[in-house]
Symmetry: C2
Subunit: 765 residues, 2 copies
Amino acid sequence: MASVRDIGVSAGFNLLSAFVFLLAFALLRIQPFNDRVYFPKWYLRGLRSSPLHTGAFVSKFVNLDFKSYLNFLNWMPDAIKMPESELIEHAGLDSVVYLRIYLIGLKIFVPVAVLSMVVLFPVNYTNDTLVLSKAVFSGIDKLSVSNIPLKSPRFWAHILVQYAVTFWSCYVLFKEYARVTAMRLQFMASERRRPDQFTVLARNIPPDADESISELVEHFFLVNHPDHYLTHQVVHNANKLSDLVEEKKKKQNSLVYYELKFSRNQNQRPTTKTGFLGLCGQRVDAIEYYTAEIERLNKEIAEERERAEHDPKSIMPAAFVSFKTRWGAAVCAQTHQTRNPTIWLTDWAPEPRDVYWPNLAIPYVHLSVRRLMMSVAFFFLTFFFMVPIAIVQSLASIEGIQKYAPFLNFIVENPFIKAFLSGFLPGLVLKLFLIFLPAILMMMSKFEGYEALSILERRSASRYYMFNFVNVFLVSVVAGSAMTQLDTFLKSPPNKIFEIIGIAIPLKATFFITYVMIDGWAGVAGEILRLKPLIIYHLKNWFMVKTEKDREEAMDAGSIGFNTGEPQIQLYILLAFVYAVVTPIILPFILVFFGFSYLVYRHQIINVYNQEYESAAAFWPAVHGRIVTAMVFSQLLLMGLMSTKEAASSTPFLIILPIITIWFHKFCKGRFEPAFKTYPLQEAMMKDTLERARDPNFNLKGYLQSAYIHPVFKDDDEDDNDVQNKLEMETELVPTRRQSRRNTPVPSKMSYASSPSPSSKHMDL
Amino acid sequence: MASVRDIGVSAGFNLLSAFVFLLAFALLRIQPFNDRVYFPKWYLRGLRSSPLHTGAFVSKFVNLDFKSYLNFLNWMPDAIKMPESELIEHAGLDSVVYLRIYLIGLKIFVPVAVLSMVVLFPVNYTNDTLVLSKAVFSGIDKLSVSNIPLKSPRFWAHILVQYAVTFWSCYVLFKEYARVTAMRLQFMASERRRPDQFTVLARNIPPDADESISELVEHFFLVNHPDHYLTHQVVHNANKLSDLVEEKKKKQNSLVYYELKFSRNQNQRPTTKTGFLGLCGQRVDAIEYYTAEIERLNKEIAEERERAEHDPKSIMPAAFVSFKTRWGAAVCAQTHQTRNPTIWLTDWAPEPRDVYWPNLAIPYVHLSVRRLMMSVAFFFLTFFFMVPIAIVQSLASIEGIQKYAPFLNFIVENPFIKAFLSGFLPGLVLKLFLIFLPAILMMMSKFEGYEALSILERRSASRYYMFNFVNVFLVSVVAGSAMTQLDTFLKSPPNKIFEIIGIAIPLKATFFITYVMIDGWAGVAGEILRLKPLIIYHLKNWFMVKTEKDREEAMDAGSIGFNTGEPQIQLYILLAFVYAVVTPIILPFILVFFGFSYLVYRHQIINVYNQEYESAAAFWPAVHGRIVTAMVFSQLLLMGLMSTKEAASSTPFLIILPIITIWFHKFCKGRFEPAFKTYPLQEAMMKDTLERARDPNFNLKGYLQSAYIHPVFKDDDEDDNDVQNKLEMETELVPTRRQSRRNTPVPSKMSYASSPSPSSKHMDL
């Protein structure tokens, strides 16, 4: 049991380390040579250009404006300043609503923390149970429910607080759901014309002996949606083509690099080896080799493109069908087309950027089997993941190495290496697994056959949450591996399960406080430092960047990472709910996490992340659902805890809470969820009418004709103007006040006042 | 433990009683004065007229054609003969698909019974476990799994059979679901024009200060479905009006009766009393009194009708909206209309006959609260229904009567009455509750606010099944009330629960065999005898029938009663699944039930029942779901049983089965269920096109204008031609070959050859 002082020391230490991170961040970010690491969003939006082109040589790399070192924390107010509406324009609705998850944590738990501490601290503290029991305890335990004697009437205070927590949370959740729904509809209504507003993805088109897929689609929709059908695009299987294009791109870069090298040193023609990574194989003249390779690839690409575009076999039984009006598309997306509901499946097309192309051709039965397989796999992954890891750990142990790789004996016998290996290897293996876990979960989601990146991320998030719930929360609370838990829970009666966890909960409060500080505080501080992208960028910049375009690509803006970030928040929300009544002292620590994360992520969203897609907050129902699940779980735990405290008469009062909460969830689902699944006809009709009045001669067919073409068909010959095009398109799509900035050296009054504008820097010198 | 001989005796006895029922039925049904009890369907379809009008006096009441007594069992082949397609025309798809539930029982369990008996009887019988254990056992137990020693490898036979049962059942269920889906779509496609094909029920229309509901509806749909909207009918709150009309009808009947009486006996003007049932109050001249009363009611009805039709307050926020095409209606029914998904809810309108009018005005939040309340109420009803019954029983006991109603002492002290009361009263109270249970469940469903009778019945059926599952199945298997069960199960670990039930299962086989014979065999035989409608019809005929119209109304055709019948079949299916591997000897008894019921219900559907509505087999997904649930439950029970038999290595093999079964259910749900919820656009478009070609000038608006008018507005002045109208309409809707029969005395070759056609009877004489 950690004492209050231990916790204080630990908190101080963690605060210090977070402070060090922040300081490092503040120093690193104002160095021009890090500019592309800490402000990639602005580069991608075309509102900032590389500082390496202009000015004195030193100031290209190091910030010499010492004044800017003084106010190194002013990124914080800047992160807050940008108003929400502008942030939606700048980074999209997904990012803004993602931030609201942190806000909802604050909204729920600030009042809860105040209430719990004011009411429950005196109630808990003024007992002698722990003192009398002569058990080892800490000051924190004196503030928790553990300090209340059995059958005490004081438990009513906890029950009342739990009621207050439940009603307040439901109120906040309801308000928030309403707000997010309104924001989503508002966003969709105010958006400019987008191809996905008119387009439906038809999957599982049945094969027809007499007609090609394209003819079939056209006839089907001309017959069944005669007044609305406009055009369609079939989906080509271009996976091989994209591989080839990818290969050509790399070789082209190498060619440019060697040509550059040759132009600097005309004496020696550069050579390379043909084998793996240029390290082995025959030595050949590099420029000649790459020119020939590109020649070959060009030919292959042309053939493959011909095949992919025209071979009927490479056309998948799926198509993007576009309609004349949003109304027509909304109707088609929400209705069933044929008797057999597993063919001609129509659903909203994802945004073009959001489409996950390889999954578009999977037939219905496969989907169903794949999902079953993945459910079983996930079950085993969650409960038995320790088994393979234990095996690997035993292999990777000293004895394992001695046994299976005796040739390494001479290394292992070194006592220092031995100590290092035995102390470090098992942990490393586990850590490696945990690092790869999100990727594994993402692969599982991909295998299940979802057709959009946003859905894949949502699906992975839900699984990651479940994994965390079992392997972080449950395993920490009730000691023992997930496998042991499963065994225990299968063999315990349902009410016992909650008792087992309920009893353990107060004892683990100090552990979770430490966990919040290490995983939460330090993790967020690490997030803002972007150590990994920073190192990778500079490594790439030094070793691999051969051309200016490479530098463009070395810049890794990243994205929010919904599939890992959201489950983490949810874990903290779960902790907060579970401990709100039991050991409220944990709440301030979690609140600091929420507040700090909100700041950091808002900053990152403004300056760093570049979302790959826009799903208009389609993830909110899942977020809401998980928060409600956490609430219900905490209510059941409290019931379990109370019954072990022999406050048995409390059960009838506590059983009402989960019933109300589940009902509340159902109500919200009915009230709000349709707005996230369907597009109301009224909205569609309004936008259609408005647009017809505004822009009666718009050539919609031309606009939609090539919206959903596999990126590889677009990419090929436009490599060079590609990025520029993309930026222009985007700037056109999301016009902001920032646009004028490229020409004005003085920073505008908001939000990036402290971001050291490289051009203004050079003016100073 | 009942021995094989006991079972044999019991079976013989029950067979005999069923035979007696059948004999009684055979004799009663050919008596002309029972004609309206046993052939009401033909009367209602207008294909049979009362035998009382023509022929000799005696033969009006008693069948004098002795030949017809000889082949008294030939209703059975007749019940089979009518082909399914004709039966659909005759009685509707609901009835035909309902029969398929019995068929599915036969299809699944005939092969299962053969396999189980062939494989498992020898495996079970050739052991000495029971003999060695020296326990009391019967021959039946020797054939059951109880006779196998612990840890025996013979259990593999049971596991293999369970696999076979699972795969075979899934195969049959899949085929059947596909067949029923095809039948439903076929039925809807071949149907003639029906108002509900064009109509959508819009509920929760938001109030508007400036417009009436009717204007609002018109504007909303003109804006949002401009090309498809045709017309609409608002819903009036006419509950009071229908009460008044009902009252007037009764008084009119009395008037006719007294006028008839007076015309026979001109000397004495009939008198009546004004009080309750004419038994108390002031004595007045009957004809004058009723004339005045009708006068008064006429005035009140006119006023109320005026109010209901024109007072804006009596217009409910719901409307039936009709579209120009089925396509338009299908689109509107399947899409969301506005941002707020709880207003302007649109869904398919039920058939006009199927509408449950009083529920149309309940707002969304109320629905949600009402459903929560009913869930809680149903939970208590299921687990705690014994509490109020025990209280009533204690009140209704001898001591209770002596204490609370001492004035009845003189009766109670009679020793015969005392014995009767103490032996009979508690059972009577329970029986009364069970008789009223379906009505209670139906009231609960109505309170929940579903808008169609078919939905109410489905909902009640599902609850009745759950009630039976807990209070018949579980309570019989594990002795003790439902309340005790709940307590046990809450306090046992999940795997223990299935062990507890699993162990008890083989012991209760003889009980359930008896149950099947008494509740099943005798129950079905009772069903065909129609004792209750028979008695009530004759009572009404003798005492209350004042006019010919009254006789028409005294004839109670009834309907299948999905809400009670289906849960009963499901209980037997559950028993069959549970015992298929454990004690297969029970299967033949259940098969007899299925076969016999199929015959009886087919006969009743042809000759008796008159369905109130047609839902086109909308109940199938629920039926399928419950069968799958029973399968999964039986698999879990077998796992529990095996683990108590210490055949622990079987668990991994058995756990696969529920996973596969649940996956199968999900697959079927995705594959077939949409056909029961939505109307595919392709189908709608095909029918629309066909109809446009066939009947281009049809006045659809005129046709739909008054389709959805509250029955009370239709009824009023058309009382007399009402029944005739209805019959004509129905005959027009479902034309069959029977139509010619009214004029042909010779029975046509099929299906009712044995039904003693009264007219042909008279020809014989």
